[in-house]
């Protein structure tokens, strides 16, 4: 971990995730999403059709999740040339996206962020391996007319 990674402010952490989500969508989907107003959540927000969870250990523990509607995932699958659009494909993609965005964040957070294999769940299901957060940070965004969000549930 470098000195700058150790002293990232919440605003800087937000900027990191905005940049990483924008980069992912720009690279894979051809355009960046529009980011909406972030919020602090005191309960688990309602999950959209498919949610990918990246469990995190190390100096920060908890998880980071990406929750997305099926229509958005189908649109991304189209962009990458994938014909399979069923729920299995959507769950696979959202897990891969959550893993990619969180893993990319190690460039900024260093060893504070030790990532683990991703989990995925359909709406209404929550992975039994994870603990629902008492406080989390929700970053909503819109792409291709569809709303999705990143949820950061980490604590030192």
């Amino acid at each position: 971990m470098n000195a700058s990674a150790a002293s990232l402010s919440p605003e800087r952490e937000l900027a990191v995730f905005i940049d990483l989500i924008a980069r992912y969508f720009q690279t894979v989907g051809g355009s960046a999403p529009v980011f909406l107003v972030p919020t602090l959540e005191t309960a688990l927000p309602p999950q959209l059709d498919c949610t990918g969870y990246m469990p995190v250990t190390g100096r920060l523990t908890g998880w980071i999740a990406l929750s997305m509607p099926g229509a958005l995932l189908c649109s991304l699958l189209d962009h990458i040339g994938e014909n399979q659009h069923d729920e299995a494909a959507q769950l696979d993609l959202v897990a891969e996206m959550a893993g990619t965005i969180t893993s990319n964040a190690r460039e900024h957070f260093g060893e504070r962020l030790y990532v683990n294999p991703t989990l995925a769940a359909a709406a209404g299901d929550f992975p039994p391996e994870l603990v629902p957060p008492t406080l989390s940070f929700r970053l909503p965004f819109r792409w291709s007319g569809q709303d999705a969000y990143l949820l950061v549930a980490l604590h030192p």
């Binding site: 040339g81 897990a95 891969e96 964040a105 260093g110 683990n116 294999p117």
Partner: protein
């Protein structure tokens, strides 16, 4: 030429396969974790491997080490989202031929494979 794609994501495995389906590789096989990659490498003897890192059962860096212990000339391109320099350095230290950061594009993976196979 033969290619082994190692990734726990079905969508990623198929995306990589589409990226390289330009006639260069006559045979492509896949593995879904590091342990299966080590086993498949021994059977398939590919010319090049694309290897994810964060996978269940056995991670990609351990698989790189085990494959190279038995096959010192193996060509392995690590394809990972882990963006810190320490991870890339560790992959090369363990013997990987290259490191490509996810998310990938057709151009980025073709160029990375070109670099490895030209060497």
């Amino acid at each position: 030429m033969k290619l082994l794609i190692v990734d726990d994501s079905l969508i990623m495995r198929r995306a990589i396969e589409r990226c390289v389906s330009t006639g260069r590789f006559g045979e492509v096989r896949v593995a879904t974790n590091g342990r299966l990659a080590v086993e498949e490498f021994a059977r398939f003897k590919p010319d090049v491997v694309t290897m994810d890192i964060t996978m269940p059962e056995m991670d990609g860096l351990t698989a790189v080490e085990r494959i190279l212990r038995a096959n010192p000339k193996a060509n392995i391109l690590v394809v990972s989202a882990l963006a810190d320099k320490a991870t890339a350095v560790e992959a090369i230290k363990r013997g990987a031929s290259g490191f490509l950061l996810k998310p990938i594009t057709v151009e980025s993976i073709q160029a990375a494979l070109d670099d490895i196979l030209e060497d």
